[in-house]
């Protein structure tokens, strides 16, 4: 699965918002050998950004240690129904993807 779809859910609790985001990405470490015996080139997400209504609230730097098709979940303080949450990533090849959802 190459860099494909993302899926996100943001649910409001009392005084907080739980966000769960799924992303498809190969997350190749660069250490693994393919069937031809050559190293599979590294391909992994480096930066993860979470924005609430356009304002960045999380800037994460992640590495090869994260598994293929990663899932992140985190709890944000506050939040209101209808707030826009945007999650985007940037990988070491400069590829990028993002998804957006409203808090439900």
């Amino acid at each position: 699965m190459a860099a494909g779809p993302m899926k996100m859910r943001a649910t409001l609790g009392s005084g907080f918002t739980d966000v769960r985001v799924l992303m498809s990405h190969p997350m190749e470490t660069g250490q693994r050998k393919g069937p031809d015996g050559n190293l599979v080139p590294a391909h992994f997400i480096q930066n993860l950004t979470v924005k609430v209504n356009g304002k960045a609230v999380i800037e994460a730097q992640i590495s090869q240690a994260v598994s293929r098709n990663p899932v992140f979940s985190f709890r944000l303080k506050g939040g209101a129904k209808g707030d826009r949450i945007e999650v985007s990533w940037l990988d070491n090849r400069g590829e990028t993807n993002k998804t957006e959802t409203a808090i439900a």
């Binding site: 699965m1 190459a2 494909g4 779809p5 993302m6 899926k7 799924l22 992303m23 498809s24 190969p26 598994s67 293929r68 098709n69 990663p70 899932v71 979940s73």
Partner: protein, 264 residues
């Protein structure tokens, strides 16, 4: 000599406690992977494929009848395998999907079955579609067809195959899955001929396997068990593999479907 004896006693005393702890740790791990399962991504891709126009007739699978009427997916997977009057055959999900690819989309058998089992980099069409369709049965009790004579015959054939020893190692499914308390490394082996062991299995397949990042279908599971028994490779959606699936599903029926699952 004395040291050796002492070591053996130690091992005997601590082995059961250790196995218990390891079992608990595995359960914890299984819960964690379930919470972080990327299964929904496969469902999304599957939905796109379900709606994608393909084949010589350039139509999508949306009019495919999985037993609940054309295009009706809610609860369809939970009622498979079942007998279909139009083909007069007992079919499981993959058999029916293949049937729709051949009839609705006009594709040929060789092309449609060229790549039924994918890998981590490129999952197969069958795998994506299975994820999407099985996902539409969450919460619906597993209730395969059990009335029609052909459905009963499939169950009987599956039961016979389950206990049938064959191949270079003289193995049957029951060689590994026929006795309580057996395991391979740390994996407990369910006694699949009993309802209590079969229920959690049929309620969670097809499933995503974390250890190799692949989504796997029931046909693959059966196929791979035969490979492990060193039997000749079964034909995809053959009468035998469908019968085996029928035997497992009927044995483990009645629990609400909660898949597609996540396995270690």
């Amino acid at each position: 000599m004395r040291t050796v004896t002492f070591g053996a006693v130690l091992a005997l005393t601590f082995a059961p406690a250790y196995a218990q702890d390891a079992k608990k740790e595995i359960q914890k791990y299984q819960q964690m992977i379930t919470e972080g399962s990327p299964v929904e991504l496969y469902e999304l891709e599957g939905e796109d494929l379900w709606k994608k126009r393909q084949g010589p007739k350039n139509v999508s699978l949306e009019q495919c009848d999985l037993g609940m009427g054309p295009g009706r997916l809610k609860g369809a997977y939970a009622h498979l395998p079942r007998h279909f009057p139009d083909t007069d055959r007992v079919m499981d999900l993959e058999a029916r999907l293949l049937h729709c690819m051949l009839t609705l989309q006009g594709r040929d058998l060789k092309e449609a079955t060229k790549r039924v089992f994918g890998n981590a980099d490129r999952p197969s069409e069958m795998e994506y579609l299975s994820a999407y369709i099985a996902g539409q049965s969450r919460g619906v009790p597993v209730s395969p067809g059990m009335e029609h004579p052909k459905e009963r015959a499939a169950f009987e054939l599956g039961r016979k195959l389950f206990f049938n020893r064959a191949g270079p190692w003289d193995f049957s499914c029951a060689s590994c899955h026929g006795e309580e308390g057996k395991r391979i490394r740390m994996q407990d082996l369910p006694v699949l001929s009993t309802p209590q062991a079969a229920r959690p299995v049929v309620a969670t397949w097809p499933a995503y396997r974390v250890s190799n990042s692949q989504f796997k279908t029931m046909q693959w599971r059966i196929n791979d068990c035969y490979r492990q028994m060193r039997m000749p490779e079964p034909t995809f959606v053959s009468e035998a593999t469908i019968a085996m699936n029928m035997f497992l599903t009927v044995t483990g029926n009645s629990e609400p479907y909660r898949g597609p699952g996540t396995k270690r």
